[in-house]
């Protein structure tokens, strides 16, 4: 590879799925030994472009040059042969195989396994030396944390002698400490001459680590700039096509009476593992309490108990009345009647039925409502009309009540759920991952709605794995680790670093801690803590 030829050059790539033009005439040059960021909203076509580069899709038009050579990439095998490695957002690992087995899969030497495994073990040691990527070769994937799993994915690519590494939203599942470590590894890879393409929607990552950045919007490449010559505001505008508020605009909270009071809440799961180990937490009227934490440390269980589809022990009172945690009144319907609305963490599994239409989804949980009734039947016309109003108020696009939920974008699906829950005027709103997989424009809107509800004097309990979101929205932050609340902080008096340590279970945040120490602590909490992501 000469120093002048770009490692990757795409010329005029176009790809349509039916009527949707996912990529329109995209051209891009990535120089060797650089980190190139690709940023854009969901559905902007980033993943499609990378899938074309990795041989998952065939472009309708356009050419690919690798190291100056025109290259056809009809399948993944060709991509691997061309020296391209990809780390997908959802890891492509076999859970009950060892690290070593996953690394050789598809890249074995010969028909027998043992020589291949022996060879891989040796080169794994070398790779670990060269890039600081240490893994336990004989550990099962299901027993190691996500950070480690991601390392295995990177090693898989390096073992196949990839010179070009594509990472798709790599930090979505990592703690801040793990993300820092990943970035250190990427820096090391760059200094060893590897070319890296980083796909992300997080502006901060782009600013921190990339050399150049391309912005995509609605299938088009709107700009490619040197990272040092741009700013987050400029990138955000390029992504969305208009000015966006990166900070949530809100006045200081005016907390009132205690609405939600949780004391000593414990939850034991089906396997007998204690998921919540005694939670004490209060949420007042007119404030947003944010729960920070790495996914799987009990946040989901907390929302589930409050939402009425998990049982627990301890005490929860709402407006001074205690809630039933195990009996007949511990179901979702009773919770709703008591004034708790719930925007679940996984909107596609718990918040919506994807094959049902928007108006049907709007009725869920509130289908007993008298307004929706006509004698013993449902008054579908009323539900449809109500849905149309809600869609308008929440700017759901397209505003068609008869469209199936799966045909809306992630952000609009979330708005449907949010409209359903907020419009019920609840005393307490539970919100899980409100903006996961939601584009910047919609994030802004969703955040405004949550703040507006707070300003009406409602209590809001927010769970999010996005620290930025927690810091931006919360009036008070509680950090959960391993089923416990590690501590509460005020957003103005803390930062991502301190919260990150608390998320890793380290409470004496004044002293410096090594990554190894943090990892050891996370491992102690169990690999399972990671798995639910």
């Amino acid at each position: 590879m000469t120093s002048t030829a770009p490692a990757i050059e795409l010329k005029g790539i176009s790809k349509a799925f039916g009527p949707v033009q996912a990529n329109k005439d995209i051209s891009i040059r990535v120089m060797p030994g650089t980190i190139h960021g690709i940023i854009g909203e969901n559905g902007a076509g980033k993943s499609t472009l990378m899938s074309i580069l990795y041989g998952f899709y065939k472009a309708d038009a356009g050419e690919i040059f690798i190291g100056g050579q025109k290259t056809e990439i009809p399948d993944s095998q060709a991509a691997i042969a061309a020296g391209i490695g990809m780390v997908f957002q959802h890891f492509k690992l076999v859970e009950n195989f060892t690290v070593l087995e996953n690394i050789i899969l598809g890249a074995e030497d010969g028909r027998m396994l043992r020589p291949s495994l022996a060879k891989a073990r040796a080169s794994l040691l070398e790779l670990a030396e060269d890039y600081g990527l240490h893994v336990e070769p004989d550990a099962l994937i299901e027993d190691i944390g996500v950070g480690m799993q991601q390392r295995v994915e990177i090693l898989k690519a390096l073992y196949r002698q990839a010179d070009i590494l594509i990472l798709d939203e790599p930090t979505g599942v990592l703690t801040p400490a793990e993300a820092d470590q990943l970035f250190r590894i990427l820096g090391r890879l760059r200094s060893e001459g590897k070319t890296i393409i980083l796909i992300t929607h997080k502006l901060r990552e782009i600013m921190d680590i990339t050399d150049t950045v391309s912005v995509m919007r609605r299938g088009e490449m709107t700009a490619t700039v040197k990272t040092s010559e741009t700013s987050p505001q400029e990138l955000a505008e390029l992504m969305v096509g208009r000015k966006v508020l990166l900070r949530v605009d809100k006045t200081p909270a005016k907390p009132g009476e205690v609405v939600l009071d949780i004391k000593g809440l414990k939850v034991v799961d089906d396997q007998g593992v204690e998921r919540l180990r005694g939670i004490d937490l209060q949420v007042r009227a007119g404030e947003v309490v944010g729960i920070a934490g790495v996914a799987g440390n009990g946040q989901s269980e907390l929302l589930e108990v409050l939402g009425g589809y998990e049982q627990g022990t301890g005490s929860i009172t709402l407006n001074g009345h205690s809630l039933d945690l195990t009996g007949k009144e511990s179901d979702g319907r009773s919770r709703r009647r008591r004034g708790i609305a719930h925007v679940p963490e996984d909107r596609q599994r718990e918040g919506l039925i994807m094959d049902f239409q928007a108006w049907e989804n709007t009725a869920f949980g509130y289908h007993h409502d008298d307004a929706y009734r006509a004698g013993i039947l449902m008054n579908n016309a009323a539900v449809r009309a109500d849905t149309a109003t809600k869609m308008e108020r929440f700017d759901v696009r397209p505003p068609i009540p008869s469209l199936a939920a799966k045909n809306f974008s992630g952000g609009n699906q979330q708005k449907i759920v949010l409209a359903r829950e907020i419009e019920r005027n609840p005393d307490l709103l539970l919100v899980g991952q409100p903006t996961r997989g939601v584009d910047i424009g919609a994030i802004e809107f969703i955040h405004q709605q949550i703040v507006a509800l707070r300003d009406q004097g409602k209590a809001i309990l927010l769970v999010s794995v996005e620290l930025e979101e927690i810091l931006a929205l919360s009036d008070r932050i509680a950090v959960m680790f391993d089923g416990r609340v590690m501590g509460e902080r005020l957003p103005a008096e803390t930062d991502e670093k301190e919260l990150g340590l608390l998320m890793a279970g380290i409470t004496d945040t004044d002293h410096p801690h090594s990554v190894e120490e943090i990892e050891a602590n996370l491992a102690h909490a169990g690999g399972d803590a990671h798995k639910e992501v």
């Binding site: 899938s51 492509k92 076999v94 859970e95 996953n102 027998m112 396994l113």
Partner: protein, 322 residues
């Protein structure tokens, strides 16, 4: 119960376990690759008929065996087409194959032989004879070891030994070769295999083909070794018991052998109620023994004896995600 009765009982255990074992290993290949196959029963039945029919017509049992394997593999190909290429529901395809085989075998048998849906009785070269291992006759009269060797170890048809040999072979193939690694991977996470540049479709077809091969041998064994000719519905639920054994063994080859031997023993006891009565002084309903494999499988599935975790991608057609 005397020693000879015990040997006889174990002998018939081995005979009855053989078709279960072959079908169970067939299912193991298929399910380890992520293709559920409840059509084992139908494939066995079709193979039983075609091997008996062709053996009867040609007079050569080996030609019959090939015909049986061929029939079973055709049905496997149908299952593969439905569940791999067209990403259909694997259970429905399996059920369809079972019905198809149950009806077609009798229909064709009646058309070809006019014997009420049977094939003619097989004899001589049209049937697998039992093999006498070297020295079996010589030591038959030695106490203890004699009957053990002559009755239990020696004196089975070649297919029994093939089935037993298939166990270590399956283990070796699955856990010591590249093919096995990929096959197991495709049943757990096909996306991992796909992104590693290996064809998911080719691997799954290979697994389904091996499944067809083994079911073919199992079916041929029924009609040309265990019995002498095909009769209607002669597989008699063995395909389902094999599936039960597969779950019981948690998709592991050696455990499949143990499970099939255990279920074979139940089968052998079913025909010898006198033995049970002599040993336990209880009169046990033999139908109860027939149901035992299913009862035990339910217990396994309920998680009483460890957890049976099927291959994670089992039953799911592979669709590339965006």
């Amino acid at each position: 119960m005397d020693y000879l009765t015990l040997i006889q009982l174990l002998d018939s255990t081995v005979r009855l376990a053989t078709p279960l074992l072959l079908a169970c290993l067939a299912g193991l290949f298929s399910e380890r690759a992520g293709i559920f196959d409840i059509g084992l029963e139908g494939k066995m039945l079709a193979a039983a008929f075609f091997s008996a029919a062709v053996a009867a017509l040609s007079g050569n049992v080996w030609v019959g065996l090939l015909a049986g394997i061929g029939a079973s593999m055709v049905l496997s190909a149908v299952h593969g087409l439905a569940s791999i290429t067209f990403r259909g529901n694997q259970l429905i395809s399996g059920v369809a194959i079972n019905f198809l085989a149950a009806g077609m075998t009798v229909l064709i048998a009646q058309d070809w032989f006019r014997q009420g849906g049977r094939t003619p009785s097989l004899s001589g070269g049209a049937r697998f004879d039992s093999i006498t291992l070297p020295g079996a006759d010589a030591i038959a009269d030695t106490p203890f070891i004699g009957p053990l060797y002559a009755e239990l170890i020696s004196g089975h048809s070649i297919l029994v030994y093939m089935a037993l040999a298939a166990v270590p072979l399956t283990w070796w193939l699955l856990f010591r070769t590249r093919f096995g690694l990929r096959l197991r991977a495709v049943g757990e996470n096909p996306a991992a295999v796909d992104t590693a540049g290996v064809s998911v479709v080719a691997l799954r077809y290979a697994a389904v083909a091996i499944c067809g091969l083994l079911c073919g041998i199992a079916g041929a064994y029924l009609s040309t070794a265990l019995q002498a000719g095909f009769v209607k519905d002669m597989s008699a639920g063995r395909g389902f018991i094999a599936l039960a054994a597969l779950i019981f063994s948690k998709w592991r080859p050696w455990h499949a052998l143990y499970a099939c031997l255990l279920f074979g023993l139940f089968g052998a006891l079913e025909t010898r109620p006198d033995v049970i009565e002599a040993v336990t002084t209880l009169k046990v309903n033999s139908a109860l023994l027939g149901a035992l494999p299913y009862v035990m499988t339910v217990i396994i599935l309920a998680g009483f004896i460890g957890k049976a975790i099927p291959p994670r991608a089992g039953g799911e057609p592979y669709v590339k995600e965006r």
